[in-house]
């Protein structure tokens, strides 16, 4: 099949010029794209020193991973990843960043020696993991491209204990029971975490002034109004209600 050169040129932006479009496996391309974004962003997380940038890179990495999930046919898990990981978890992270974002702590430099050691050890770990991943021939088989069945409803039914994807999938293995109990356990776990986190993070009434208060009293309170200093010494409540009150 021949293609109009204009079309081919349009696609040149993808860096795959001169390729017969019909031969392109778009799925592979998208995979490479998302995988590259995810891995690069992950490495950027390691490389960055600024906490907020780390958070941004992490979001990018996680979102790209969600894309990978979509590509793998796990739409529900991908959406879940976006919703909870990228949305919830990272909003929490940003909270933490803001609350602790005093200038000295926003960027704590990692030590060079640490980086070198971590690099060596990480390389060894990566090598081990990649070797392990590639060592099984079945995993290296190219994808069969069977259209993945819609997963949301079976997943939801599985979570309430009914497996509607029963035995007929080709070569599908695994127990044929639902996940009602794990689901409930996770629910209770989340509740416990909620309560525990609220308890841990609550402002304690203490007679002895906190170190942060001592720090704040040492430094001039005018620093709060300093335009360039970011939220120094501000607590969550005052941030939310606005410092101008």
């Amino acid at each position: 099949m021949t293609l109009p050169s204009s079309v081919v040129g349009d696609l040149g932006v993808l860096g795959v010029a001169f390729l017969p479009l019909a031969a392109i496996n778009w799925h592979s391309v998208m995979f490479l794209l998302f995988a590259a974004v995810a891995c690069l962003a992950a490495v950027a997380v390691v490389a960055a020193d600024n906490v907020v940038r780390m958070a941004l890179y992490l979001v990018v990495s996680l979102a790209a991973t969600a894309g990978l999930f979509f590509l793998a046919g796990a739409e529900f898990v991908g959406a879940m990843q976006l919703m909870i990981y990228v949305g919830g978890t990272l909003v929490l992270l940003v909270f933490g960043v803001m609350l602790t974002a005093q200038a000295p702590f926003v960027a704590i430099k990692s030590e060079g020696g640490d980086r070198v050691v971590a690099g060596i050890v990480g390389a060894a770990l990566l090598a081990a993991l990649v070797l392990a991943g590639l060592s099984v021939p079945a995993w290296r088989q190219p994808a069969s491209m069977h259209a993945p069945p819609p997963a949301a409803t079976p997943l939801g039914m599985a979570l309430v204990g009914v497996r509607v994807d029963a035995a007929e999938g080709p070569g599908v293995i695994g127990p044929r029971v639902g996940y009602l109990l794990p689901f409930e356990i996770v629910s209770v776990h989340l509740l416990v975490v909620l309560v525990g986190a609220a308890y841990l993070a609550r402002a304690k009434r203490r007679k002895v002034p906190r170190p942060i208060d001592q720090v704040a009293s040492v430094e001039p309170p005018a620093s709060v109004a300093a335009h360039a200093s970011i939220g120094r010494g501000e607590r969550a409540g005052s941030v939310l209600t606005g410092g101008s009150a």
Partner: protein
């Protein structure tokens, strides 16, 4: 669409794919960008009418049609400022993050039966999840601006959006439960027929849930009276205090895009989607097999229906914005946690009970075409769940 291009117009497959993709992308982009222009003008006029004045009248004729365009040109021409202490990368990337999130969400929003970017079986979930990403741009912008007003605005935004995602999710789950699917196309199809088939009128609980959804949607897109993030009376302009020029306009496009998106979602989930209040096509005897022109006419009517409903939703938000005073942050939180969440939870339970006790609604079968269609699986002859036959062919714009 691809079939149409290949078979009717005789284009090659690759070209057909490409054209279809471009059409879809352009459609979405235009909805957002062009829609933003229209909506900004409309907002000015609506505000003016509500405040008993005229609004823009000069640019582009009597009604000031071109006011938004003129503003856009002005913004393009403006100097792009960045504060001295700002984090350059984050400052620059923040508007695009917001806009991207808003734009991505349109992928899964169906405009008509097969006019949909990507028919996902978890479309509702996807849209809500992606919409939640928009807040990221706001937070990054607030942080990167190195301004305390911006930071305050961002923090408020974060708190508000995270909180309102809970009742919003609960409201969204109600139509999902009634339809038995998270596929927005399926959900809209289920409401075909007369307007009393809309989920808004399915039962009293859904009627209440719709209004809770409206409240939460307004809050989650940061529109007044929930626009704490940019409260100009306290925070100058909130998270976008330091932005100017085109970057600032991206925030606005994202905002209007989100408004349209949540309105479209409301239309699909509660207001019958592309099904009009009166099933004209059915009354006229048009159906899938009637003929190609009728087929496309039906699609066009559906498209108009949905866009009209979404526009009405946007106008409704404007009406609210210029009518209600802004809440305090504690009032915003109270509204969410003490009212919206419990009401949504109770309504969810009520709708569930209603569905169990009166599965067919109050008027089962009246004006409802076709049988029940459930996504993914059906009850087989042996009472065992089996895979449903593949869904009807849709315009596949799969990358």
């Amino acid at each position: 669409m691809v079939e149409y291009l290949t078979h009717t117009l005789g284009l090659s497959g690759t070209l057909a794919w490409t054209i279809a993709a471009v059409v879809a992308a352009v459609l979405v982009l235009n909805v957002i960008a062009g829609g933003a222009l229209v909506f900004i003008w409309a907002e000015r006029k609506v505000a003016a009418r509500i405040q008993d004045r005229l609004g823009p009248t000069r640019t582009g004729g009597r009604f000031g049609w071109l006011q938004s365009l003129a503003d856009g040109i002005k913004l393009l021409a403006k100097e792009d400022l960045m504060p001295d202490g700002a984090d350059g990368l984050l400052f620059k990337i923040a508007p695009y993050v917001s806009f991207c999130a808003s734009f991505c969400a349109f992928i899964a929003l169906p405009f008509a039966f097969d006019v949909v970017g990507l028919r996902l079986n978890v479309a509702v979930f996807f849209v809500v999840a992606v919409l939640g990403l928009e807040v990221f741009g706001v937070i990054i912008a607030g942080y990167a601006s190195a301004s305390k007003w911006s930071l305050f605005g961002a923090m408020r935004e974060a708190a508000q959006v995270v909180s309102y995602e809970v009742p919003l999710g609960m409201c969204v789950v109600v139509p999902v439960m009634l339809a038995g699917s998270m596929d927005m196309v399926t959900i809209a199809e289920k409401q075909a027929g007369w307007f009393w088939n809309w989920y808004l009128f399915h039962d009293p609980f859904t009627f209440v849930v719709f209004w809770v959804y409206v409240t939460c949607a307004v809050a989650s897109v940061n529109r007044a009276p929930f626009d704490l993030a940019e409260a100009e009376s306290e925070l100058v302009a909130g998270f976008h205090t330091e932005y100017s020029g085109l970057r600032w306009s991206f925030f606005f496009m994202a905002e209007y895009g989100s408004m349209f998106l949540v309105s479209g979602m409301a239309a699909v989930l509660f207001l019958g989607g592309w099904n009009g209040p009166i099933p004209i096509a059915t009354l006229l005897g048009w159906s899938e097999g009637t003929g190609e022109s009728a087929h496309y006419l039906v699609r066009l009517v559906g498209l108009a229906n949905l866009i009209g409903k979404a526009t009405l939703g946007v106008l409704f938000m404007m009406w609210i914005r210029w009518t209600l005073p802004r809440l305090r942050i504690d009032q915003v939180m109270t509204t969410c946690l003490k009212y919206c969440t419990p009401i949504a939870a109770v309504m969810f339970a009520g709708a569930m009970l209603w569905q169990v006790l009166l599965p067919g609604g109050l008027m089962p079968g009246v004006g409802r075409p076709g049988g029940e269609v459930r996504e993914g699986w059906l009850e087989g002859p042996g009472g065992r769940a089996v895979q449903a036959p593949a869904p009807p062919a849709v315009a596949e714009i799969r990358p």
